[in-house]
């Protein structure tokens, strides 16, 4: 039995498919047209009126996220910006350290077990210049319960005195990464993994909860709430491990899980060290793919982040910080990506800084002899500071760009004032340049780095506005149609799934999103205020939480 889905307005992102209704059977789109025509030609079909007042688009596609974005919500959110949890509750941002402390106090009071660790996440000290969260603040929450606050960077944590006493972190602790006060006592900040490991189970228990099934299910809920029907996990846990691969299968292949997931392998997170072994592993995993769960992508991380000053940049950071970090020796990259390209696997490479893009372009040219295979879909992830000359070379090589446009809102002012300065900030995430060169474009949130929200990142790419009201590089703004394409077909194409998702096209999967407002009516300024009502995945409705 087939169904005709009647909509209030329909945007298919397929110029050949127009109308106000979608004909669906067996999880696929049979036809698109006017409701009356579809009804007349399919008299036996049922009618679904649930979206009769809604605006329907293809389900959004997020080509860069991390499943821990779901798992983190098992712990208390203390980030600076408003954020919505998997159940749909909006947690207001904590914009002062006092607000962080107040939120921790509420959570402390709500915990029954007096010895349970209170774990929180999302704190980014870049928003509190001149102020620093230390044990003294957390001791105002509790002097008996251990408290662990994971910073947004995941490179730092702040703990209270009760936790330090329990774990033996004291004046005798001699470690870089355990800063001390004038009297020689630790102030409660733990920097980088070795120092953070001193927090013992407070940290390890938290990190392990990120990759457990409830966290991954919450990841699906976040996707649904954002209108996302296909999401890429760009490296959360090593899928070399059968246990982790099976966990993905068990959670995502469940009929109730509301999204398709493309799970990438990041060789930097574990797995075989040999190049041929990595390729063989991913080919084997790819064969285990289902209609909802996809393996076959490989992601490499070349540098760090701009706001953490770990991105590799050609021109120095304006506040004098040292250049960033390489996570792969530049001279080794060609050797690493060659077997991935040769095997026809999907290759995505994290490059935040322009120097990282230089290295990738050289390595890709070397690995392919300058003649890449047809339709390779190699994508530069983040590509935030990529220069025009680099985009021209990417166009020649047929590479795509998945831009981290959410940065304008979350760190745009910091990029002007602290990291790369006004000129480079204005050229960041140069979406219009990408399109003008014919480079495949998508835009992403990198959840949990920023909250998952396709309409929010579309708003960012279309407005390039910072919280203080600056507009960075107005010429690089996308129009609404370009932004909608980037979060549907653009992302689907980079995941090599554009033949089955990304537009409302007969033959594709019936993956849809229903909105309360038409993006083309709301205009660029209004995109982030649109509410998602429901998604449809393979014909099944998933109303938002």
């Amino acid at each position: 039995m087939s169904t005709i889905l009647r909509t209030g307005a329909l945007h298919t992102i397929d110029p050949a498919a127009t109308g106000d209704a979608v004909h669906i059977a067996d999880g696929r789109i049979l036809g698109v047209g006017s409701f009356d025509e579809l009804r007349a030609s399919n008299p036996d079909a049922g009618v679904d009126d649930r979206f009769a007042d809604a605006v329907v688009l293809p389900g959004f596609v997020e080509a860069h996220a991390h499943s821990m974005a779901g798992g983190m919500w098992q712990h208390l959110y203390v980030g600076y910006f408003d954020n919505r949890d998997p159940d749909g509750r909006v947690w207001p941002g904590c914009t002062t350290l006092d607000e962080v402390i107040d939120r921790l106090r509420e959570a402390d009071a709500a915990l029954d077990d007096p010895n349970a660790v209170l774990r929180a996440w999302g704190l980014d000290p870049i928003y509190f210049p001149g102020d620093r969260l230390v044990a003294e603040h957390l001791d105002r929450v509790s002097t008996t319960r251990p408290i662990f606050v994971f910073h947004a960077s995941l490179h730092l944590a702040t703990v209270n005195t009760a936790l330090m006493e329990r774990e033996g972190i004291n004046a005798d602790t001699m470690m870089d990464g355990v800063p001390k006060d004038g009297a020689g006592n630790p102030i409660g900040e733990l920097q980088e993994p070795a120092a953070m490991s001193l927090a013992g189970d407070a940290l390890i228990g938290m990190v392990r909860s990120f990759m457990a099934p409830p966290g991954v299910r919450a990841f699906g809920d976040l996707a649904r709430n954002a209108g996302v029907t296909t999401i890429a996990d760009l490296g959360s846990g090593p899928i070399a491990s059968d246990a982790i691969a099976e966990m993905w299968q068990q959670v995502v292949n469940d009929r109730d899980f509301p999204a398709r997931v493309s799970v990438f392998h990041n060789p930097g997170q574990g797995g075989p060290a040999g190049l041929d072994d990595v390729t063989a592993l991913i080919l084997r995993r790819r064969a285990e793919s289902t209609d909802k769960l996809r393996f076959g992508g490989v992601k490499f991380v070349l540098d760090g982040s701009i706001q953490g000053y770990t991105a590799r940049v050609t021109e120095p950071y304006v506040n004098g910080k040292d250049n960033g970090l390489w996570l792969i020796p530049p001279d080794q990259l060609a050797e690493w990506i060659r077997p991935v390209i040769d095997a026809g696997l999907l290759l995505h490479v994290h490059c935040n800084g322009d120097q990282a893009v230089d290295v990738l372009l050289a390595a890709f040219t070397e690995a392919t002899g300058g003649q890449p295979p047809a339709d390779h879909r190699t994508t530069v992830q983040h590509s935030q500071l990529t220069r025009l000359d680099q985009y021209e070379r990417m166009a020649e090589l047929g590479m795509g760009a998945n831009l981290f446009s959410n940065h304008f809102w979350y760190w745009g002012d910091q990029h002007v004032d602290l990291t790369v300065g006004p000129e480079r900030a204005a050229g960041m995430n140069a979406a219009a340049t990408v399109l003008s060169l014919g480079i495949p474009l998508s835009i992403h949130c990198d959840a949990s780095v920023t909250p998952l929200g396709s309409l929010h990142v579309a708003w960012c790419a279309a407005n390039r506005q910072t919280p203080s009201g600056r507009v960075l590089g107005p010429d690089e703004r996308l129009d609404v149609g370009q932004a909608m394409h980037a979060i549907t077909m653009g992302a689907a194409s980079q995941l090599r799934m554009d033949h089955e998702i990304g537009s409302i096209t007969p033959g594709k999967r019936a993956d849809l999103v229903a909105l309360d407002t038409d993006p083309f009516v709301a205009g660029a300024e209004g995109l982030r205020d649109i509410n998602v009502l429901s998604t449809v995945l393979g014909g099944e409705h998933h109303p938002v939480g």
Binding site: P193, A195, G237, G270, P329, P330
Partner: protein
């Protein structure tokens, strides 16, 4: 007093420097010491299976400095597994990725079950002068050199002239002592086992002196270590102060005093590079032996 801490040495250096060759030589060497190696490079954190086969089981994942769950969990788990071996290894080595920051990894040597021995950075004499000015990795390589407690020039047999020249150049580049040669002794590389577990055959690349130090407070011990004459590569020992016992250690240019984790007799072992003891070393040792360290150090 708790379980003895396990000394941890980090071996770093850029691509092709000779880290793996060095590690393999240590693992296959005829030294009688039980040494575990953790390779912190791409892919899994590999624990050397030949030595530790029964206990490793599933190897844990890790990112080489990347921000992710595995980064926190991986090396922590590998180090916990190694510490749990029975009998525990006498020494643990972490071999770091070519772009890894050995000093950051060395901080794991200050986690509860370990004591940081130090950082050895391996240098390829044919490539190092190019790497330090490379626009992409120059800063990374210079930071590695700066993090070293001991710089080891590799490929010395094949390239004796380049090795000599680069060794001279390194002395001005980085604060650590420079050793040339692929056949470096374990006494220089990992130190002598202070607790006398194993002995090493005499080796021409170093001389050792040991003595019983007098009771001294920890600040004075620190000052004495900081004043080590040139040519002293390693110092390690235990010094009493009333009811307390302090462990003092120096490797290269970096010295450190902490409360001892085991009860042992006072002893101090000094290892110097080369075939003869530098003349300043005897008087310097005598000051700690007699307790007359004084203000002049």
């Amino acid at each position: 007093m708790s379980t003895p801490k396990i000394p941890l040495t980090v071996i770093g250096g850029y691509l092709g420097a000779g880290k793996t060759t060095l590690v393999n030589r240590i693992l296959t060497g005829d030294h009688g010491r039980r040494i575990a190696v953790i390779v912190n490079d791409f892919g899994d954190v590999a624990i050397d299976e030949a030595l530790l086969e029964p206990a490793t089981g599933g190897l844990r994942a890790l990112a080489n400095g990347c921000v992710c769950c595995a980064a926190v969990d991986g090396l922590a788990s590998a180090l916990a597994d190694v510490a749990a071996l029975d009998p525990a290894p006498e020494h643990v080595i972490i071999e770091v990725s070519g772009v890894g920051d050995p000093w950051a990894v060395a901080q794991w040597g200050r986690t509860p079950r370990y004591e940081l021995d130090g950082v050895v950075v391996v240098v390829d004499p044919l490539a190092i002068e190019r790497w330090v000015v490379d626009p992409y990795v120059g800063d990374t390589v210079r930071a590695q050199l700066g993090a070293a407690d001991l710089l080891l020039v590799s490929h010395a047999d094949d390239e004796p002239e380049a090795s000599e020249r680069v060794a001279e150049w390194l002395i001005n580049m980085a604060p650590a002592p420079v050793i040339i040669g692929s056949d470096v002794s374990l006494s220089l590389l990992l130190g002598r086992p202070t607790l006398g577990i194993a002995s090493e055959r005499p080796h021409a690349d170093h001389v050792t002196v040991s003595f019983t130090p007098a009771t001294t407070d920890r600040d004075v011990l620190q000052a004495w270590l900081d004043a080590a004459p040139d040519g002293v590569v390693r110092v390690k020992g235990f010094v009493p102060d009333g009811d307390d016992l302090f462990a003092g250690q120096r490797f290269g240019h970096r010295s450190e005093v902490r409360r001892a984790s085991v009860a042992v007799d006072p002893v101090m072992v000094v290892v110097c590079a080369g075939s003869t003891m530098p003349p300043e070393v005897g008087p310097w040792c005598a000051r700690l032996e007699s307790g007359q360290v004084g203000d002049g150090v």
